[in-house]
C-alpha cells in the first residue's frame, strides 16, 4: 500500500511529560471508510496520541500526515478546519449554554453573512434536525441547557457534535464509557453510516466486544510503544490481550466463591421525591449485589442518598441489624459504608492535589494521632494501597490529574479500600478501565467478599454484571423492577426486558 492511500498517518511520534516518556515512536494509520480501533492499557498513551493529532499537545518529534500531506496543527481549531474532529474522553460541556449552542460553538450560523450576528433560529433548527436524525430528540431538545442533562445525554450531544462537523476523520476516545447499550446501538448506527461515507474513524475503547463488533483493524499501544496492528477479522481476544498487557490473562469473570454470611446492610422504603421511591434491598456479607438498569434509572441516586450525599426524604437503614442514621457522608464512613463514585472528576478526586492526599482524604483518622497527621505513616499506607491497585505512576506525590483516566479510577478504589469497608458500593467501577485492570478489580472484589464485605455493584456493562454478581436487582424510573437471585436466570435478555419494562413512557 502506498502512503497516499492513507487518510491519516501518524509516524514515529514521541512525547514527554515532565521528563516521563509517554509516547515512544508510536504511530497509526487510517484508511478512508475504515473503523480503526486503538487499544491499550490505561496510560498506554492513546489519548495523548490523539491529542497530538488534534494539535492540543505539541509533539516532541515525529510527523502527522493527512492524505499524504504533512500537517502540524497549532490547536484544535486548525484540526477542525482541516477536517478532523474528536469526541474527547473527558466530557466537557458548557453547562449554562443550550444543546444547540454547544453543538455549534465556534461555527455559529450568521444571520447576515459577514456580520457577527448569530442566527439562533437556524442553529436551533439544525440542531433539531441532527437530534432527529440520530434518534435522540425524544429526550434531548435543542434549547435545553447542558447542565440539565445527565452524563449519557451529555455524551450523546458530544457525539452528535463531533459527527456534525462532517469531518474526513473522526476520533472517538471512549465514546461508550458513559452509555448504556441502548445509546451505544445508536452510536454504532452512526458509525456504520459514516463508514459508508468513507469517513475514517479512530475508535478507542476498553470494551472488547464492541471493538470486535465494529472495527476493521485494531492497533495496540503499550507503554507508549506501537505494538502492532491486526485485522479484526483474523484477530482473537487472547491475542489482543497479550499484545496489550504483554502477558497471559485468565479469561472470563472470576466466580465469587466467598461464603455468604448474615445480612450486613438493609435499606427499607427509601424515598426521595422525584428521584426514586420505595427502594428496598439487602446485602449479605460476602455477597456481591448487582444493580442493573438503563442510564437514568436512579441507581446512583439511591446509593448517594444512602451514604448521605444526596437528600433522603424517608427510609430506614439497618447495618448488621441495627438501625443507623446517616445525615452526612462522614456518618457513612464512620459506619464503614463506602462509595466509589461513578463520576471521578466531580465526586471522586481532588484534582491539583497529590495521589497520596487523595487516597488519604477520607481515611485521615487512620494516619493521625488526635488531629495531628503522622505523615510518614500516611505515605507508607497510601503507597501500599496504590500498589495494591497497580496504579501506574512515577511518584505518589504526583498530581492526581496527571494520571490517565483508568489510573484515576484505580486511585478512587484505593481510597475506598483504605477505609476498610463493611459495605462497599462500586458505581461503575470499571468505567474507562483496561482489561488487565478490570480483572484486577474483579479479583479484588472477590477478595473483599471473602473478607466478609458486602458489595453493591452498579454497572452498565451487563456481561460484567452477569459475570460477577451473585444476585441482580433491576431498577427503572427510580423503582426496583425485580430481582434475579439465581445465577442461571441471569441473561442480558431478561435484565434488559425488566429494565425497559419499567421505563415510563416519556413524551
Amino acid at each position: 500500500m502506498s502512503d497516499e492511500n492513507y487518510l491519516l498517518e501518524a509516524r514515529e511520534i514521541c512525547k514527554t511529560f515532565s521528563g516521563v516518556r509517554v509516547l515512544d515512536h508510536a504511530g497509526l494509520t487510517v484508511l478512508p471508510g475504515e473503523v480503526h480501533a486503538l487499544m491499550g492499557e490505561n496510560g498506554a498513551g492513546k489519548s495523548t496520541l490523539m491529542k497530538i493529532i488534534m494539535g492540543i499537545y505539541t509533539k516532541d518529534s515525529g510527523n502527522v500526515l493527512m492524505e499524504g500531506q504533512e500537517v502540524d496543527f497549532k490547536g484544535p481549531r486548525e484540526a477542525l478546519i482541516a477536517g478532523i474532529s474528536m469526541i474527547h474522553q473527558e466530557l466537557s460541556p458548557i453547562p449554562e449554554m443550550t444543546v444547540a449552542e454547544n453543538i455549534f460553538l465556534g461555527r455559529e450560523k450568521k444571520a447576515v453573512k459577514g456580520l457577527p450576528f448569530m442566527d439562533r433560529k437556524a442553529v436551533n433548527k439544525s440542531t433539531k434536525h441532527l437530534l432527529d436524525k440520530y434518534e435522540v430528540s425524544d429526550y434531548i431538545k435543542p434549547t435545553m441547557k447542558m447542565k440539565t442533562l445527565n452524563i449519557a445525554q451529555v455524551q450523546m450531544v458530544e457525539i452528535i457534535k463531533a459527527v456534525s462537523y462532517d469531518s474526513k476523520i473522526l476520533i472517538m476516545d471512549e465514546p461508550t464509557s458513559s452509555l448504556s447499550d441502548k445509546e451505544s446501538e445508536v452510536l454504532f448506527k452512526i458509525i456504520a453510516n459514516l463508514r459508508a461515507q468513507k469517513v475514517g474513524i479512530i475508535y478507542i475503547s476498553h470494551r472488547m466486544a464492541e471493538v470486535f463488533q465494529i472495527s476493521d483493524r485494531i492497533s495496540v499501544l503499550r507503554d507508549g510503544h506501537f505494538i502492532g496492528c491486526v485485522d479484526t477479522a483474523t484477530a482473537s481476544h487472547q491475542e489482543l490481550i497479550n499484545m496489550m498487557v504483554g502477558r497471559e490473562l485468565e479469561r472470563g469473570y472470576p466466580h465469587n466463591t466467598a461464603e455468604k454470611g448474615d445480612v450486613v446492610i438493609e435499606l427499607k422504603d427509601m424515598c426521595s421525591e422525584g428521584v426514586f421511591e420505595h427502594v428496598n434491598l439487602s446485602v449479605r456479607a460476602g455477597e456481591i449485589l448487582g444493580l442493573a438498569g438503563l442510564v437514568g434509572a436512579g441507581r446512583s441516586e439511591v446509593m448517594q442518598a444512602l451514604v448521605g450525599y444526596d437528600k433522603l426524604d424517608s427510609g430506614e437503614i439497618y447495618l448488621q441489624g441495627k438501625r443507623i442514621e446517616i445525615h452526612h457522608p462522614s456518618d457513612a464512613i464512620k459506619h464503614h459504608i463506602i462509595i466509589a463514585s461513578e463520576d471521578r472528576k466531580e465526586l471522586g478526586l481532588v484534582f491539583g492535589r497529590s495521589i497520596r492526599e487523595n487516597i488519604a482524604l477520607q481515611n485521615l483518622s487512620q494516619v493521625s494521632a488526635g488531629s495531628f497527621l503522622k505523615k510518614p505513616l500516611e505515605k507508607t499506607l497510601c503507597k501500599k494501597y496504590a500498589k495494591e491497585m497497580t496504579i501506574k505512576m512515577n511518584n505518589i506525590e504526583e498530581d492526581i490529574g496527571s494520571l490517565s483516566g483508568g489510573n484515576q479510577q484505580k486511585a478512587v478504589l484505593a481510597k475506598c479500600l483504605m477505609s476498610k469497608p463493611k459495605v462497599l458500593i462500586m458505581d461503575e467501577p470499571t468505567r474507562g478501565i483496561d482489561v488487565g485492570a478490570k480483572s484486577t478489580i474483579y479479583n479484588i472484589m472477590i477478595e473483599l467478599a471473602k473478607q466478609g464485605i458486602a458489595i453493591i455493584m452498579i454497572s452498565s456493562e451487563l456481561p460484567e454484571l452477569i459475570g460477577v454478581a451473585d444476585r441482580i436487582l433491576v431498577m427503572a424510573g427510580g423503582k426496583v423492577m425485580g430481582e434475579l437471585t439465581d445465577r442461571a436466570e441471569f441473561s442480558q435478555h431478561t435484565i434488559l426486558s425488566m429494565a425497559f419494562g419499567g421505563v415510563p413512557n416519556e413524551s
Partner: protein, 318 residues
C-alpha cells in the same frame, strides 16, 4: 404564539422579577417618604449619578462573565482624567483628546489581557498590579496635582444635555444597548459565556479563547475610559485620584445582578438592575438625610438582601 410557559422558561424570567421587585419596593417606599423623590428632576439626577458606576459595571460584566475580575478600572479612570486634563490645558481639540484617552485606556486593557490570557496570571493579581501601576502613573504624570478643564465642548460630555436627557445618561444607555447586542446577538458575545462556562471545551471547539479574554479587558478599559471622560468633564478637572474605589461598586452591581464570579452565568440586564439599585439606594438615603455612617450599614445589608432574594427566586444551589 404559545403562551404556556414551561417551568424552565418561567425560571429564566423569574430572577429578573425578584430584583425588579426589590427596586420597585424601594421606589414605592421612597415616593411615599419623600415628596421630591418622584420628580423628574430627581430622576434625572439619579440616572446621571448612576451613569458613572453603570458604565464601568457594563464593562466589568464582560470580564466577570469569564470568571475573571478587573480591579484596575478605577486607576484607568484616573489615568484618563489626568491625560485629558493635561492635553486640554495644552489646547488640544476635545475630540482628539478623547481619542488619545481611548488609546491610553486600551493600552491598559491590552496589558491586563496579555498578563491574564498569554502569561496565565491570575486576574485578581494582574489587575491589582495594574491598579497600583495605573494610579502611580496618574500621580507621577500630574505630579499629584489636578488640571483645570475649561474647554466647554468637553465639559458638555459631563454637564450637557441632549434634549432633556443629560449626556452621561445618553452615553450610559448607548453603552448598555451596545453591550446587550454584543452579548446576546453576536457570536463573539456568546463566546464570553462559552469561555466563562468551560474554557477548555470552548478551546476544543475552536474558539480563540485567548482573544476573547483579551477583548474582555479591552472592553472593560474602554468603559473605564468613557467614565474617565465623563467624570473629568463633570468635575471640570483632570484629577489623578479620580475613580478611586470605583471597581468595588461596579463589581457589587454586577454581582447583585446575578452574574456569577465563577463565570459562565449572568446577564447585562441583571447588571443594569444592580447599578440602578445601588444608585437608587444612595439617592434615597441622601433624600432621607440618613447619617452617612448608617448609610453604609444599610447599603451593606441591602446588598445581602437583594442577592439573597435573587438567589432564592432562581432556586440557585451555587
Amino acid at each position: 404564539m404559545n403562551l404556556n410557559l414551561t417551568r424552565q422558561e418561567f425560571k429564566s424570567i423569574l430572577p429578573r422579577f425578584a430584583l425588579v421587585a426589590v427596586v420597585l419596593i424601594i421606589v414605592g417606599v421612597m415616593s411615599f417618604l419623600s415628596p421630591v423623590f418622584m420628580t423628574s428632576k430627581n430622576m434625572t439626577n439619579i440616572f446621571r449619578q448612576i451613569s458613572i458606576n453603570g458604565i464601568i459595571a457594563v464593562g466589568m460584566t464582560f470580564v466577570i462573565l469569564l470568571g475573571d475580575i478587573d480591579l484596575s478600572v478605577g486607576a484607568v479612570v484616573g489615568v484618563v482624567s489626568v491625560f485629558c486634563g493635561n492635553l486640554l490645558e495644552q489646547g488640544m481639540n476635545w475630540f482628539a483628546v478623547c481619542l488619545v484617552a481611548l488609546g491610553v485606556a486600551v493600552i491598559f486593557g491590552i496589558f491586563n489581557g496579555t498578563l491574564v490570557a498569554y502569561f496565565n496570571f491570575q486576574p485578581f493579581v494582574a489587575t491589582l498590579a495594574t491598579l497600583t501601576i495605573g494610579r502611580g502613573v496618574a500621580l507621577a504624570y500630574s505630579d499629584g496635582r489636578p488640571y483645570i478643564i475649561t474647554n466647554p465642548t468637553f465639559k458638555a460630555i459631563g454637564q450637557g444635555y441632549l434634549g432633556k436627557v443629560p449626556i452621561p445618561v445618553v452615553i450610559l444607555l448607548s453603552v448598555c444597548v451596545v453591550g446587550f447586542v454584543i452579548l446576546n446577538y453576536t457570536t463573539f458575545g456568546r463566546y464570553f459565556f462559552a469561555v466563562g462556562g468551560n474554557k477548555n471545551a470552548a478551546r476544543l471547539s475552536g474558539v480563540k479563547t485567548k482573544r476573547v479574554e483579551m477583548s474582555a479587558y479591552i472592553i472593560s478599559a474602554i468603559c473605564a475610559c468613557i467614565v474617565g471622560l465623563i467624570l473629568s468633564a463633570r468635575i471640570s478637572s483632570g484629577q489623578p485620584n479620580a475613580g478611586e474605589g470605583y471597581e468595588l461598586d461596579a463589581i457589587a452591581a454586577v454581582a447583585i445582578g446575578g452574574t456569577s464570579m465563577n463565570g459562565g452565568v449572568g446577564s447585562l440586564g441583571g447588571t443594569l438592575l444592580g447599578f440602578i439599585m445601588i444608585g437608587l439606594l444612595s439617592n434615597s438615603m441622601n433624600l432621607l438625610n440618613i447619617n452617612s455612617f448608617y448609610q453604609q450599614i444599610v447599603k451593606g445589608c441591602l446588598i445581602i438582601i437583594a442577592v439573597y432574594v435573587d438567589m432564592k427566586s432562581k432556586g440557585d444551589k451555587k
